[in-house]
């Protein structure tokens, strides 16, 4: 694999951590951006012991859009070139609250969609200039169709997926690749409060799917892969039936 310099945003997420460990084993250089700097520092030690050739950390709250450009440039200055940027942060908002309280919905859109688009704006300009690189973003199967129980999150994730589709075409002639990773249910702190069942995956499984998807230059990665079929069926249900489904 020729991935070497990796920027991870939302690096304290369980999926990001598991992915960073896989890249550490490949002796990659890592730059981690996240909110909780104490947790980042712990992760830094862990990744160095696992084999990362270099790990840098810096704080970033992604809702502060104005800080995005400087944070990315910090990584770029250090690396000289970013081979892979992985965007992992996200939050699972309370749907009921969001449907009555626009401020809550706006916050969910800021974290899950607009911050990602802002980051992608800066990252794609730099990767185009490099004429090289890969952008990988964790979206969700929830973005494939709006469900009444979770449509604010779904709309935010869906927005990012549509954005990535367009961006992929725009960056293609510039040798920059775009991967949209859509996990199903994953057992992470974000979903700690939900009951688990057979469809649930571990962050390690998703991490492996990310690494494979990036290495094989996939466009859309459902993780685990069976979600591609589940979502195909979900997308095929006629709307007159779908609107009656409470899930």
């Amino acid at each position: 694999m020729d991935v070497k310099n990796i920027l991870i945003i939302g690096a304290n997420s369980a999926i990001a951590k598991a992915t960073a460990r896989l890249y550490a084993q490949e002796n990659c250089r890592l730059f981690l951006l996240g909110r909780d700097t104490a947790a980042l520092a712990q992760q830094q030690q862990d990744l160095l012991i696992r084999g990362a050739s270099e790990v840098n950390i810096a704080p970033l709250d992604v809702t502060h859009f104005a800080l995005h450009e400087a944070a990315i440039d910090q990584a770029l200055d250090l690396f000289g070139q970013i081979d892979l940027a992985l965007i992992c942060h996200g939050s699972l908002p309370d749907q009921i609250r969001c449907q009555d309280d626009f401020d809550a919905a706006l916050e969910a859109f800021n974290i899950n969609a607009l911050s990602v688009i802002s980051l992608l704006t800066h990252l794609s300009a730099r990767m185009m200039a490099q004429r090289h690189g890969c952008l990988a973003v964790i979206t969700s199967v929830a973005g494939d169709r709006g469900r009444q129980s979770n449509y604010v999150y779904g709309a935010a994730k869906g927005m990012v997926s549509r954005y990535l589709q367009g961006l992929r075409g725009r960056l293609f002639p510039h040798n920059v690749h775009v991967v949209d990773i859509r996990p199903g249910f994953v057992d992470t702190p974000m979903t700690a409060h939900l009951p688990k069942g057979a469809l649930w995956a571990s962050p390690e499984q998703i991490a492996q799917a990310v690494v494979n998807g990036v290495a094989k230059r996939r466009h859309t990665v459902y993780a685990p892969a069976f979600w591609r079929f589940i979502m195909l069926i979900v997308r095929c249900i006629p709307e007159f039936m779908f609107k009656r489904l409470k899930f």
Partner: protein, 434 residues
């Protein structure tokens, strides 16, 4: 959920919590202190030591914390597995001073069972290479323990089977090792006398273990293959490979009967070996041969199996092993392969298994009649001053335990003093009256 360990017997209805940080673990102990709870690592113990109504899984406490390359001291959380550790450390020229027969065990589990390896006769057990550990008590407080600090609690926790609290992280001494391969020699012993003589004459071999045909009788009783090993010295440190095949489902238990076992053992013993010729093999294959087959425990069928591992002090090891093997071969209940190994001196850990002598480990398919046989074996072991390994046990009686683990009362006292007895109780500790 229904939980079992490696022997798949017994089955326990448990709630499993998997905290992601020490703070989350302490929070769990504070908010819901059920009296029957126990730490659990990878569930590679065979019996009921990692089973209780409430289980605290350490698999998400899996961070490396610090590595002092000068002194070879690695600090990591208790849920890190030996596999993960060796993947990180072998390419840099480091190895663990003691490894058990599988690398799918956690650091916490290795300490709590004070596991031994093929070099016990020279290097002792896992706990002897632990510089220090941090233990979460029933109160949620964390204490630092080592051979110098909180000494008593340290020696109660190493080999303590989770009964003093939950180890959250530990600092381990690693050993320098500039190769990822092992030079192996295989020697054939035609009977029990020969294998004991071979263990003695190869005492200085770094690693040694014998695979024994426990169904052989008469003049062939105890026939075995002795595997000797030394780390190679070639400056080639590769990352060990991952596992290859897996047993997908339980096989019908009748496939394992006295005839198939006997055939297997016989074929194994008679396999062509180039005696005395050194072979270079991957460390992973030498130390963890069974790990190349995932879920091999399913071969024993749905009802599971038991492992019986005893140690007999040197003085009477030979006659005791003869009695045990004779009893087993006449019963016709044998296992695939039985393992015989010379052990070095005992250590200060209260419930540590090894003592200077020989240890024999056998698998038995679970059947009611097996239990009676094992009770008989217990009396042979007790008569010769031996004992059974708690990490493999699912059935020993309280009496057998108390007679063979002389420090059990100290353990009970320390448990009472630290409040552990009110919270940390496994099915095993209840059965053994600890």
């Amino acid at each position: 959920m229904k939980l079992t360990s490696w022997g798949r017997y017994p089955v326990c209805e448990s709630t499993v919590n998997r905290p992601r940080s020490d703070a989350a673990l302490a929070g769990l102990l504070h908010t819901q202190p059920p009296s029957s709870s126990i730490a659990r690592g990878m569930g590679r113990s065979y019996g009921d030591s990692a089973l209780a109504e409430h289980v605290y899984s350490t698999t998400a406490l899996d961070q490396f914390i610090a590595f002092d390359e000068e002194r070879g001291l690695l600090r990591c959380a208790a849920g890190v597995t030996l596999e993960t550790l060796l993947h990180a450390m072998m390419p840099r020229g480091w190895f663990l001073p003691v490894v058990p027969g599988t690398w799918h065990v956690s650091i916490g589990g290795a300490i709590a069972s004070d596991v031994h390896g093929k070099n016990h006769h020279l290097d002792g057990s896992f706990g002897q290479h632990v510089e220090s550990l941090r233990l979460m008590l029933a109160s949620g407080d964390i204490v630092h323990c080592s051979a110098q600090e909180n000494t008593e609690l340290f020696h109660a926790t190493c080999a303590g089977m989770g009964l003093t609290g939950i180890i959250v992280d530990a600092t381990l001494h690693l050993r320098r090792n500039n190769s990822s391969t092992v030079m192996q020699r295989t020697l054939r012993a035609h009977n029990l006398d020969e294998i004991f003589a071979l263990f003695d004459s190869h005492h200085n071999s770094h690693y040694s273990v014998a695979w024994l045909d426990c169904l052989a009788r008469g003049n062939s009783l105890g026939r075995s293959l002795l595997y000797l090993g030394e780390h190679a010295n070639d400056n080639i440190c590769r990352t060990p490979a991952k596992r290859s095949i897996s047993i997908p489902f339980s096989s019908p238990a009748f496939l394992l009967n006295r005839y198939s076992m006997s055939l297997f053992n016989s074929l194994y013993y008679h396999k062509p070996v180039k005696e005395l010729v050194e072979q270079r093999i991957e460390a992973k294959q030498y130390f963890f041969p069974l790990d190349s087959i995932g879920h091999w425990n399913r071969l024993y069928g749905k009802r599971g199996f038991m492992q019986y591992q005893c140690v007999i002090p040197d003085a009477s090891a030979q006659p005791a092993m003869r009695e045990i093997l004779t009893r087993i071969s006449t019963s016709g209940k044998g296992s695939f392969l039985s393992v015989l190994k010379k052990l070095g001196p005992a250590n200060r850990n209260l419930l540590s298994f090894p003592l200077e002598g020989y240890t024999l480990a056998l698998d038995f398919k679970f059947e009611p009649s097996t239990l009676a046989l094992l009770d008989e074996l217990d009396s042979i072991v007790l008569a010769h001053g031996g004992r059974l390994y708690l990490a493999k046990d699912a059935r020993m009686s309280q009496e057998v335990f108390r007679r063979s683990y002389p420090h059990w009362e100290d353990m009970a006292r320390i448990r009472a003093e630290t409040g552990a007895d009110r919270l940390f109780n496994s099915l095993q500790s209840r059965r053994l009256g600890l």
